[in-house]
């Protein structure tokens, strides 16, 4: 009498178990897709650029016809705003010159020397789990893993993850695995915490590691603390929306809305510079 009779589907089940073990091991050992397969990126990158270019043109034509009145109102608003900003700019230039003079007097070095390079977003991550972007610059343009990525207006977008020859993948700050040190921008507070890509609710992400008595208020702006070697100080992360007790009252857990949340990111800047020691 045979106790066990081998069937083809047993092999299938065995295969699935093996695949799951390999899958688990690949994730925990942080094994990524082997480099030889990266040629696929090189082949498909022109197509991604073409689709993005075509999409831009179609969106522009459509928005011209649908938003003509809005454009006129916006133009009037922006004319006024430009005039205001020019006045403010003059003031800022004066303050900047004064600041430079004082710095040279006190023999302060420049705080951060950002060298940036602009890139276009040509795609998004191919799955709904990890929020990532595909940009049209790569190793040839001086990109390397872990470089910070910001929007044109200086908001933190994320960090370079994988770099290929002509393209790179950027992990966004709303990705569950993303962590960055943050500090409350308000002068009286300067409380430090960790901003994580852990979602609390729609559009709100966790910032923790605050002491129970840390001075945090709703509406506080959170910027990068510059404590790690990967992010310079002063990049805008987001704004505090909720504050609650954590760890049975020993800490505070804050819900922050990233400034980049809900915005369409079409171009980004990658910080190439070495900011070294920060104040």
């Amino acid at each position: 009498m045979r106790l066990f009779r081998f069937k083809f589907w047993h092999l299938g089940i065995l295969g699935i178990v093996l695949i799951l073990i390999l899958s688990w091991a690949a994730t925990y050992l942080e094994i990524s897709v082997p480099q030889p397969f990266n040629f696929i990126h090189r082949i498909t990158a022109p197509f991604h650029r073409s689709v993005t270019w075509l999409g831009d043109r179609v969106s522009n034509v459509r928005s011209f016809f649908t938003n003509y009145r809005d454009f006129q109102e916006q133009r009037a608003y922006y004319d006024l705003r430009i005039a205001q900003l020019e006045k403010e700019l003059q003031m800022m230039e004066e303050i900047y010159r004064e600041n430079q003079r004082l710095r040279s007097l006190l023999d302060f070095s420049q705080r951060v020397n950002y060298e940036t390079v602009g890139a276009r977003v040509i795609g998004m991550g191919a799955d709904s789990w990890g929020k990532s972007l595909l940009i049209d610059l790569g190793k040839r343009d001086g990109l390397a893993p872990r470089q910070p990525v910001i929007s044109r207006n200086g908001l933190l977008v994320g960090q370079v993850d994988e770099v290929y020859a002509r393209t790179a993948r950027v992990t966004m700050l709303t990705h569950p695995g993303f962590v960055v040190g943050g500090i409350v921008e308000r002068e009286e507070s300067r409380a430090l915490g960790m901003v994580r890509g852990t979602p609390l609710e729609e559009g709100l992400y966790l910032m923790d590691n605050f002491s129970w008595d840390a001075d945090i208020e709703e509406g506080d702006v959170i910027i990068t603390s510059g404590m790690s070697e990967f992010f310079p100080r002063g990049l805008i992360i987001g704004q505090v929306e909720t504050i609650q007790e954590g760890d049975y009252g020993l800490t505070q857990e804050v819900g922050i809305r990233p400034s980049i949340y809900g915005q369409t990111v079409e171009e980004v800047l990658i910080l190439l510079g070495d900011w070294g020691e920060q104040e």
Binding site: I16, L20, L22, G125, A126, D127, G130
Partner: protein
Amino acid sequence: MKAVAIKGAILLLITLVQVSLLPRLSLGKLQPDFFLIVTCCWALINGSRMGVGSGFVAGLLQDLYGSGSNIFIKPAMGYLSGRFEGKIYKDSVVFPPLIVLGASFLGGIITFLVHEEYLFNLTFSYALQNIILPGALVNAVLCLGVYPFLLWVENKMEETPRGVY
């Protein structure tokens, strides 16, 4: 050879749609997984072997443009879907979306469990409500259009129509 070329072209087209076109359509939470839909459909039409093969290539492409262990999970889903080949009518409209729904759900749960960053940073209920279930539902709905198209392509490639038993 012709079949391999056509399938390769379909997978490249899907990559373009998934990476460059879908994000522009602002679907919010509803992020379909065309790689999984196509893997399951080809497995239902051609069997487990095709499911594993196409799942491997689709998973590889998806991992190149995202993060994850799709290179392992997609072949598994392809194999399981392929087990239903010959058990359902190929012209059926109801079963393929149901199988895609099940595969998406199972694949989603496995992804959640094997990824440290999801397991420790997302609650299971959040992942279920915001990623796994919406994704599975939208995949099942899209399968209603994708499956007949892929069956039509397969029938065109072969002399004997596969829809006839």
